[in-house]
């Protein structure tokens, strides 16, 4: 029972993930995703009625610390890996004026 993902869906997911796929990539990803999802569909066979979801194995509680300021990394270090820097700021292309 193959669940084929349509090319439109692949394009939509790619957009959500901020990825551009070529024609070939669209075809091959569509095929891969369909095959993998087909296998993943087996998860629907498990009886999970009355089962609570686990999002972490640790049964975490919030870790608190005193509200005290401590030295952090210098601005120079924090900017050191940026592609473009301007006067102590990360420099980016225009945010407004896009589709």
């Amino acid at each position: 029972m193959a669940s084929t993902i349509s090319t439109n869906e692949v394009v939509r997911i790619a957009q959500l993930a901020r990825l551009h796929l070529t024609e070939n990539e669209l075809k091959s990803f569509g095929k891969d995703l369909s095959e993998i999802l087909d296998y993943m569909n087996q998860i629907k066979k498990v009886d999970v009625s009355n089962v609570r979801p686990t999002d972490n194995t640790l049964y975490l509680h919030t870790i608190l610390r005193p509200d005290e300021a401590h030295p952090s990394l210098s601005i120079d270090k924090l900017l050191s890996n940026a592609a473009e820097v301007d006067n102590g700021y990360f420099s980016v292309p225009p945010v407004l004026g896009q589709n």
């Binding site: 551009h20 998860i43 979801p53």
Partner: protein
């Protein structure tokens, strides 16, 4: 035995008595790297200058102790050369995560694990090769070429910590850090004939670990012996204020384990008789059966256990891991770090940067993860996966009420040929089938060398334990290694 293949514990002893210097040890490793790295490709970056500098300082620390100038005995790791997987940050050394995206990224800070090793005086030989962003089971997804298995250079070392496993196996390093999200320490350990330990989730800080699946990731160790694993774990384990998912309680003394040389009387070992999907290579099955016989011979009681939901662990794992990965990799947008491919506007910059910087497998997983989280599919996929995760965890809890550890295979086959599975992602995912349930449940696991197949390729056996049972696993492993010598074999790399 060649000094390059001595255990970490042994060379640590030699350092503490002044019989060898850290500079000499570091030179041994760098020489081994020089001889074989072009064939093995275990490293992305070799930090020889840093290593020699650290070695010089380590020698001063040992000398001061030996001469009585200092009454502070250095850590057993002081002066010992180690390798670090390239998804774990070491300050001022490139952390590429095996990706074009981070090819030039230089972390301005140490991960907690690296910092603890550095403070203990360990030597950093370099950063080892990995599948891109730790996504893979063969180290073929690296942007810097595959790593080759030292036992057969035409084969994969396993993955994603293939570089670390190969480096230790090839005598290039006395130990290494790796990471395990679905088996990425245990599986390459098995394929390279070394010991691979994945601690309990939260035992080792993830601060400074480039995130893949945050509820699954754990830093682990690759070493030649169980004793060595205990030595490394002791230094890196423990609570960390910078990672609020670390266990708050302090770890026990793992080194106590090493005084055990007796037998396994009173230890109950579980065996699951129904195998999950896919079949085992016959020699792997036989080696695991032989190991069970050995454990029984050593006094362990063998008990049958059931883990009915592990047959769905693979689906649950890949849905959860990829969903978490799609969120974690959203940060690679070219703005604050990583490569940037500028477009006409911000949107195009994101698209160009990401489409260009990520490899195929990473894109595939981001897409899968995104799909599993989208409106309309979230309940069917991600939420269901989280519920199956609860069931897998409960299976283990029930099993561990009857046994102290569960023994089984690590991986269905020995090392496969480079290129053999890369075109078939699902086949590749199936090679994690025995390891990933441990990550879902957050429990510790160790992979031990237990034999070889007819082609001379290493086979590993896995022990899983309840949360925080590393002492137990290390004890069983250590006693097993007193009674066997699989871990003493070394690959036949030739000059």
């Amino acid at each position: 035995m060649d000094l390059a293949f001595q255990s970490l514990a042994r060379v640590s002893d030699l350092l503490s008595t002044g019989d060898i210097t850290s500079v000499e040890l570091t030179e041994v490793c760098l020489s081994q790297i020089n001889s074989f790295e072009s064939e093995v490709n275990a490293f992305v970056t070799i930090s020889s200058d840093l290593a020699m500098q650290q070695a010089t300082n380590a020698d001063i620390a040992w000398q001061n102790w030996i001469n009585g100038k200092s009454d502070q005995k250095p850590s057993p790791l002081n002066g010992v050369p180690l390798a670090i997987k390239d998804v774990i940050c070491v300050s001022d050394v490139v952390a590429s995560a095996g990706s074009m995206m981070l090819k030039e990224f230089v972390p301005p800070y140490d991960s907690t694990a690296s910092e603890r090793l550095r403070d203990a005086g360990a030597i950093f030989l370099g950063k080892t090769n990995t599948d891109e962003f730790a996504m893979g089971s063969s180290t073929e997804n690296s942007a810097f070429g595959p790593t080759h298995n030292p036992w057969d250079l035409n084969r994969v070392p396993g993955g994603s910590s293939g570089g670390s496993a190969a480096a230790v196996s090839a005598g290039m390093s006395y130990g290494a850090l790796g990471t395990d999200t679905g088996g990425s320490v245990r599986q390459p350990a098995a394929m390279c004939g070394v010991v691979g330990l994945k601690p309990t989730y939260g035992r080792v800080s993830r601060y400074g670990l480039i995130a893949f699946g945050s509820s699954l990731d754990q830093i682990g160790t690759l070493t030649r012996t169980v004793e060595d694993a205990a030595l490394l774990l002791q230094v890196i384990a423990g609570p960390d204020l910078k990672d609020s998912t670390t266990l708050q309680k302090k770890p026990p003394n793992y080194l106590e384990v090493l005084s055990r040389t007796d037998n396994l009387k009173g230890v109950r070992v579980g065996v699951e008789h129904e195998h999950t999907t896919g079949s085992l290579q016959p020699e792997v099955e036989k080696s695991v059966k032989d190991t069970i016989k050995t454990l029984k011979h050593l006094g362990a009681e063998i008990v049958s256990v059931q883990l009915p939901h592990t047959q769905h662990a693979l689906e649950a794992y890949y849905l959860i891991a990829n969903a978490e990965a799609s969120a974690n990799l959203a940060r690679y947008d070219g703005i604050r770090f990583g490569q940037r491919r500028t477009g006409n506007n911000l949107w195009e910059t994101y698209i160009n940067t990401r489409s260009n910087g990520f490899g195929k497998e990473v894109k595939r997983r981001i897409m899968l993860g995104t799909y599993a989280l989208t409106a309309g599919y979230y309940e069917d996929y991600y939420l269901n996966a989280q519920k199956v995760r609860t069931l897998v965890q409960k299976d283990f809890e029930l099993a561990f009420s009857k046994v102290d550890a569960i023994v089984g295979p690590v991986t269905p086959t020995t090392a496969f040929k480079i290129g053999e599975k890369i075109e078939d992602p699902l086949q590749m995912y199936l090679s994690d089938i025995f390891t990933l349930s441990g990550n879902l449940a957050g429990i510790p696991g160790i992979s031990l060398p237990c034999g070889f197949d007819q082609s001379g390729l290493p086979i590993g056996v896995q022990l899983l334990g309840p949360t925080c049972s590393e002492q137990q696993l290390l004890t069983v492993g250590h006693i097993y290694q007193q009674a066997t010598d699989w871990h003493k074999h070394i690959p036949g790399l030739e000059h």
